[in-house]
Amino acid sequence: MTPVLAAEFATADELCAGVRALAAAGITELDTWTPYQVEGLQELIGVPRSKLRWIVLAAGLLGGGAAYLLQWWINVVDYPLDIGGRPYHSALAFVPITFEMTILCAGFAALIAAIMLGGLPALWQPMFEVDGFERATIDRFWLAIGAGDRELDRVRDTAALETAGAVRVVWLGDRA
């Protein structure tokens, strides 16, 4: 999304009001920047739930399955050894490593997916060019409308955002 119209709010509640106002105006290409996750905001914008957990589940099952298979293969197929008379396929003994590998693979998947799905790493983003945007990680709440939104109306939306309580509304469209 290339932001063209950005607005800064002092509180999360005002941000939510801004989002509601834009939604009423039919704006759909919208993103917000907040210092912490604001409860209810996601539903307000209408962003679907993250698919991350399914990735994590798949990775975990894959890791655990591979760990068990590997243990079975090395003990039964590749190099069976007589270990104190214990059976080659000692299923109970294979459980701990299977479990640990499930967790490890799932954990890696969670971290990597969170970073990649969030579009990171991206050390430069268009919003970083906006003066005062650095307070977005401290105590200010930002939203921006993307350049691709067909319903974007600079004058109307600026007015709507200011009515909602925006401290500042910035037009970024000229930069591009």
């Binding site: 210092p35 996750q37 003994a93 967790i103 490890l104 990171l120 050390l123």
Partner: protein, 443 residues
Amino acid sequence: MSDPVIIGNPTDAALSDQLLSTTWVKRNWKLAFAITGIGTVMLFSMVTLTVMRGIGMWGNNIPTAWGFGIINFVWWIGIGHAGTFISAILLVLEQQHVRTSINRFTEGMTLFAVVQAGMFPLLHLGRPWYAYWLFPYPSVMGVWPQVRSALPWDAAAVSTYLLVSIMFWYLGLIPDLAGVRDRAPTKLRRRIYGIFALGWSGSMQQWRHYKIAYLTLAGLATPLVVSVHSIVSLDFAEAGLPGWHSTIFPPFFVAGAIFSGFALVVTLIVPARRVFNLYNVITPRHLDMIGKLLLVTSSILAYSYICELFLAWWSGDRFEMFEQLRERPFGFYAIGFWIMITCNCLITQLLWSRRVRRSATALFVLAIFINIGMWLERFEIIVVSLTRDFLPSSWHQYAPTYVDLGILLGTFCFFGLLFLAFLRLVPFVPVAELKELEREVAG
């Protein structure tokens, strides 16, 4: 329950300035760094000595083939459990109220404790340079690890624990690293923290995946934290040795681990609270909660001790009875047993008092005793069992050497050094989460 978890009503900016500035405000810590630094140098000298000359530099022998090394390993890894317990389990249980101020702090403690712990299984090997043989890799010898042993389980569990703890810690840190990037006074700091922040901007796209990932990681870490010490306990319970061969070990070890971990949390957080003036975010309510948890885990331990004695008697096994009913309470190392009982079960009864639970000083003193008691518990389990096993002909006393003591002391210093660096370089109270909590509390 009406006690506040944040005192006053600091603004988001004030919280940021207070809690992020620890990464750029200069403090005169030269003495603390010097002491821990010297201790760390001593640790690595002792490690070098061990690797160059041989594991015989330690006091181990036959029958006591495991001594200080494994005691220290279990103790440190146990301490590591409180961090994940607080961060993950309380998050999953939606106990952010008591968790948020201290979770980053305890995660750091976990990481550095696991680093200390992780050194011991490597060092205690006769040939530490072949430690990688415990991991399955396609070797030219065509051989693989032997997974019926608890040690590869242990290797898998401890390395998984370390990695997942790092991931969890780092993921939680990203928004605050971005905060430092945007708030730090010098360009160099902004650049460095900026790189580690990966370009975090706090957009909805980022938050929506981030929060799910963070919760999922917490959900994964919850069984992990239980599994790690359970598997560590299997290093003993898997053996047939009297005093080790016990089905009660996994829950018993996990309770002990959380107990000792909380004790170390207290040991660290009480001074940090004073130095950084964190009275507003680490409140008597936090201390009270830790005190209660200490009391609960202490009671579980006391119950486990009684169970061990009872089961030894109930089993009718002469070796087990000798070990548990005679050698531990009345044998050569009995003094350790009684100090352990005193520290872990008796003096913790003071925690029934609300005043004690809310007094930072009292908790701190208690925590020191608990740390000693938990170390001695591992000593009793490992050394007393090994020195007195089946055939009396093989009995032999165990005594640590100066290298053993140097390494134990050295890990305290190395831990301290890492922790000081952590306090100095990383925002150790999760600012973003605290702001969210404050909004929740206020709203």
